[in-house]
């Protein structure tokens, strides 16, 4: 066997400790799901804090939520759902060996993630300008409630941690984009695209809960 056959070449992503490509793919995916379990419980602690304080101060959440802009919250929801669609399309492109499709869809995803963060930046700076800071730094006088800072501490912690996840997601997408440009992904091997997609969809799901819980209290 002088020249490597195409079959061997296609299998060069396969690590020696896996039986075959499928087992490797399934193992990677299961590992990612276990990581997502820890992520759900990570955010779960913050959701628990939200529930406890909302049960203690229902009137505060009603008052303070008025200071969040429902319109921009809704726009960001649309942005994240659209980015989930483009990630799913990137995976589909990889499965169908459409190199251009992977690159275009990943690029759109990165752009949408930046749009999300820019909107978040304007929302934060608007609040900082009137003294709405988390915890003890809260100086805003416009909400008639002694514990008004609690709502915004929860708001900043939940959206902040979510924002950090979006930034990490951008980093992962850029890495995928660079690898996609080198032609690393194909229908034989697209594991990194698949599991980064799982991560991105979870970030989307977290926002799907944050939007009504923080912005839509009527």
């Amino acid at each position: 066997m002088e020249q490597p056959s195409t079959l061997e070449k296609k299998q060069d992503h396969l690590q020696h400790h896996f039986v075959d490509s499928d087992q490797q793919f399934e193992s990677a995916k299961m590992g990612m799901w276990i990581f997502l379990v820890t992520e759900i419980l990570f955010f779960g602690g913050l959701f628990a804090a939200y529930i406890v304080f909302r049960s203690w101060y229902p009137e505060l959440f009603l008052l303070a939520s008025d200071h969040l802009d429902t319109f921009w919250g809704a726009v960001n929801t649309v942005v994240l759902i659209s980015s989930s669609l483009t990630v799913a399309m990137a995976i589909r492109s990889a499965q169908l060996n459409q190199q251009k499709g992977i690159i275009i869809n990943l690029a759109i995803t990165i752009a949408l993630a930046f749009v999300f963060m820019v909107i978040k930046y304007f929302e934060y700076t608007e609040k900082f300008a009137v003294g709405i800071f988390p915890g003890g730094y809260y100086t805003y006088e416009g909400i008639a409630h002694d514990q008004a800072n609690i709502f915004f501490s929860i708001y900043y912690m939940m959206t902040g941690l979510h924002g950090i996840h979006v930034v990490v997601g951008i980093g992962l997408m850029v890495w995928l984009l660079l690898r996609a440009r080198k032609g690393h992904f194909s229908s034989e091997y697209y594991t990194p695209v698949e599991i980064t997609g799982l991560y991105w969809h979870l970030v989307d799901i977290i926002w799907i809960f944050l939007f009504p819980l923080l912005y839509l209290i009527d």
């Binding site: 759900i40 669609l85 589909r92």
Partner: protein, 100 residues
């Protein structure tokens, strides 16, 4: 193969449009002012449906091995235990308002 389901582009667009429609619904229900506590129930119910759609179709759980679904369900069960036990404390305190 369970792990290599290829969704059609049309299907993925359909899923996204369903999610956008439910986003519209969750905003629209706040305009009609459903009384407490049903407004929260409706908001959470819509969010759960949206998440289930994302998990089933975008995250491929519908076609995936049942083990990954089991992992997701386990995390939700433990999250509910966390909330349940915490609320058993915080809801039934004699002096419910803490100093912070």
């Amino acid at each position: 193969m369970s792990g290599h389901h290829v969704s059609s582009a049309k299907f993925l667009w359909g899923v996204a449009i369903a999610l956008l429609f439910l986003t519209y619904v969750t905003v629209a229900v706040t305009w009609i002012h459903i009384p407490e506590p049903w407004n929260v129930v409706v908001a959470i119910a819509i969010a759960v449906v949206k998440s289930a759609i994302v998990a089933a179709f975008f995250m491929h759980l519908w076609w995936d091995t049942k083990f990954n679904l089991l992992l997701l369900i386990t995390s939700i069960v433990f999250f509910l235990i966390l909330i349940g036990i915490t609320l058993l404390d915080t809801l039934y305190r004699i002096d419910p308002v803490p100093s912070f």
